[in-house]
């Protein structure tokens, strides 16, 4: 109906306005071409083509969007408008009496434009198809994509994996079982009306998972498409609502001409916030927010797909951000057929997921054994890359240390070794990637000048518990002084006071709950033997020769902290 309305209005313009504008333009062009007929034809033809290309390029009319009967695209309205303009004069004499465009010319324009539109859209579609074909030829032949295994990855591939900060999008990069988990989530989404809350902490791989989910859905030819929207940085929830809806409309428009819902974000926000904007003059203002959203349903039904709106980074919005407003919008999504959503959220976020979502899923955590193998492989590669280096400290077997952890726990309950603690800290994909990246880069400078295990511990602390690392950096002198005192000197009043002060400062850091204190304390005690006064963690540290203990403690501490060899104590 809307297309017909636009066609009707367009036909009036075509009938009466176009002759005036045509005459005016023709006069200007004749002046410009000095009445040269050939120049006039060429110039006017080029101008028409340029204008049409510009408009079509801006409006992104695509052939794949065309649902001719259910949701005809806007160019159809233009064609109908010119055809109507050809008919009107024959229907009423008073219409014919006013100067108007000739019916034959109107029909020619309608045919010409229609041809132009079909041909240009076909050309664009052909180019896209060709590009996809070339990409598929260039891509390695992977008939059944499966997730990566650590054994199959070469050292170079592994380095490339942790060198990229960006989320992964291919199962070949998945080392943590997200690909299998994507199948579970996909099955739930496949059933209509499902809404999912996906819980995962900072850097747990939520975005990577969503990308893999999309990949899996495409591979399984699931009738789903995804609209990702991030709430990162929004100060006001209204803006976030608008962004969610805009993304939804935009991604729907990729598949179908969405003329009827293009104003949905503004209209929804206007109705939801009870404001009367000028746009609402042209819309049905008596619709409730839910009814507004339900306008999406017929379009989605027409294309035979379900939209999954993925709302990310709700926990990273501004301080004024009222998360409940976004949750209200998502709750209304449940009333819209063929519309599902996934809310990715931090476990620390306070929200009633049970009311909002039908399922709450927890992102898989990387297996400790996987993290241990990764760290060990990278460490071995780094050692091999400098074969002439003489390593003074014996490197610890990280994989075995992780394996025997349960046995060790029986023999020495409560005592943890540093490999287990480091692995525990790095069981967050982002921390793991960052720590390994830093570890590799720093070793290029520090190779042989510090203990490689001390460097791994420092990198893990720096990336997984930055506030703990900052504490050590700020209190280095005092920590070394307090740690270096032997038992017979420990009665010294000054040292005891210093230890008390350090313990208090450390407790302040721990109380912020920015990291898991237990493994961090274990790592600190191994890195700085003699710091057992900081916490109650029971650790049996082994002093590393090239670590921050002994007579050259400060030299090694500064090397580890500054990642430079030449340091001034």
């Amino acid at each position: 109906m809307r297309i017909l309305l636009f066609a009707f209005i367009g036909s009036i313009f075509a009938l009466y306005v176009s002759p005036v504008t045509t005459h005016w333009s023709a006069a200007r062009l004749e002046d410009a071409t000095q009445h040269n007929l050939i120049s006039l034809c060429v110039l006017s033809g080029l101008l028409c083509l340029a204008c049409l290309s510009l408009i079509h390029g801006f409006a992104r009319f695509r052939l794949q969007q065309a649902r001719w009967l259910t949701y005809p695209p806007l160019p159809v309205a233009v064609v109908i408008a010119f055809l109507l303009a050809a008919i009107w004069p024959s229907l009423a004499g008073w219409i014919a009496a006013i100067p108007h465009i000739e019916p034959s010319i109107a029909i020619m324009i309608a045919i010409g434009y229609g041809l132009y539109w079909v041909l240009s859209a076909s050309a664009v579609a052909a180019v896209h198809a060709l590009r996809r074909h070339v990409e598929s030829v260039d891509a390695p032949d992977t008939p059944t994509e499966s997730r990566a295994t650590l054994e199959a990855l070469t050292d170079e591939q592994l380095s490339a994996w942790f060198a990229r900060e960006q989320p992964i999008s291919s199962p070949r990069e998945d080392l943590f079982g997200f690909w299998e988990f994507a199948e579970t989530v996909l099955q739930k989404l496949w059933r209509e009306g499902n809404t999912i809350a996906l819980q995962g902490g900072f850097g747990a791989g939520k975005t990577s998972f969503i990308r893999l989910l999309e990949h899996r859905a495409a591979q399984r030819r699931a009738p789903l498409y995804f609209a990702r929207v991030s709430c990162w940085g929004f100060e006001e929830a209204i803006a976030a609502q608008k962004s969610v809806l805009s993304t939804l409309v935009k991604s729907t428009n990729e598949r179908v001409e969405c003329l009827s819902i293009r104003q949905l974000p503004q209209e929804y926000v206007s109705v939801a916030s009870k404001r009367l904007e000028w746009l609402s003059l042209f819309s049905s203002s008596d619709e409730t927010p839910v009814e507004q959203l339900q306008r999406l349903s017929p379009i989605l039904t027409a294309i035979g797909r379900r939209v999954v709106v993925v709302v990310e980074d709700v926990d990273r919005a501004g301080q004024k951000f009222d998360i409940s407003t976004v949750f209200a919008l998502l709750a209304q999504f449940r009333e819209v057929r063929n519309l599902a959503f996934i809310l990715t959220i931090s476990p620390h976020q306070v929200a009633d997921f049970a009311r909002l979502c039908e399922f709450t899923e927890f992102l898989p955590v990387p297996a400790a054994s996987t993290v241990a193998i990764l760290c060990q492989r990278i460490r071995d590669r780094l050692i091999k890359s400098f074969p002439d280096d003489i390593l003074v400290d014996k490197v610890q077997d990280l994989v075995n240390a992780e394996r025997i952890e349960s046995i060790a726990a029986l023999m020495m309950p409560g005592v943890k070794d540093w490999p287990t603690a480091v692995i525990q800290l790095l069981r967050v994909p982002r921390f793991l990637k960052r720590a390994l990246r830093r570890f590799s880069e720093a070793w290029n400078t520090l190779h042989g000048e510090v203990s490689i295990d001390a460097l791994l511990m420092t990198c893990a602390l720096r990336e997984a518990a930055p506030s703990a690392f900052s504490f050590l950096q700020a209190e280095l002198d005092d920590v070394l002084t307090a740690a270096s005192q032997t038992s017979h000197q420990s009665n010294n009043e000054h040292i005891n006071k210093l230890r008390e002060e350090l313990k208090e400062s450390w407790q302040n850091v721990v109380n912020k709950k920015e990291f898991d204190a237990r493994p961090v304390e274990v790592v600190i005690q191994h890195l700085f033997p003699g710091t057992s006064f900081l916490s109650k963690s029971h650790v049996i540290p082994t002093a590393l020769k090239q670590g921050p203990s002994g007579s050259r403690a400060k030299t090694y501490a500064l090397r580890l902290f500054t990642e430079r060899v030449e340091v001034t104590e």
């Binding site: 002439d388 003489i390 003074v392 042989g448 000048e449 020769k545 090239q546 007579s551 050259r552």
Partner: protein
Amino acid sequence: MRDQTMLRLMRGSSQDKVPQLANEIIASESAAGVFEYFADRTTATLLLPILSHIHGELRRRHGVAADLKQNEGVFAVWRVARASIDWHVIEPWLIDELLNCIPGYLRLLNSVYYFWLATEEHTRQQREPVRRAVLDACKTRFADANAGTLCDSFDPSFPWVLFHLVFTTDFEQPELVPYGSASDWAWLGPLLLRAARVCPLTLMPQLIIAANDFDTRRRTVIAYRFNDQFLREWFGEKASEFIGMVRGFDADDAQQLDANAIGYIRAAKADAEERLSTST
């Protein structure tokens, strides 16, 4: 210094790395610190050769004025060697090192002896073979030497060389110092007296300091009184000749000496003046 540079030198094919290691230690105190930090049982065999090389280098660079104190780095190696090498291994090496200083480098001899044997940890029995070797070598090598050799064996800027050679720094515990009495070294007196006429600026301050009585030496202020027993045993009938030489020695000529040494010389001159005026 980078750890790897030092570790490669320390763990590399042993003996050929010794000169390079020794030079690094002499050149930089931080290198010596790194060496000391990484030294372990695998480096034990390198320690004494490194010290020998350092001693040789000190002799080459500083000549008669060579002293361990001129290079702090050496003490890093010395600390490790002292803690890790058995004395039975050290003793013959130490004797060789001390004998390498005779003639020509008696100040270095005293310095090496001081750091290895002049501590309370060592017994008279440990000192005995070393002291005997030094005394015998001095006797052998100085007996037929000309005055020039004797002159060139004492540092003219440090007048305590002779005193330390004879009495050592443990002079207040003579029971712990074998061959540490004036009589043990009395054979040296006539030789030095003769050589002192050739190089008075070098040897007169050495003899003056050595001939000071222990009672006056202990005083916290500069004081001097000739040790009569020393004069008798060392110079015999020529003791008065020596006292006359002291009186005639002009302290202003010995500008290379520090104020403390000059103070002792002036005090000795005063005592010599008094003794000679009394005798006449």
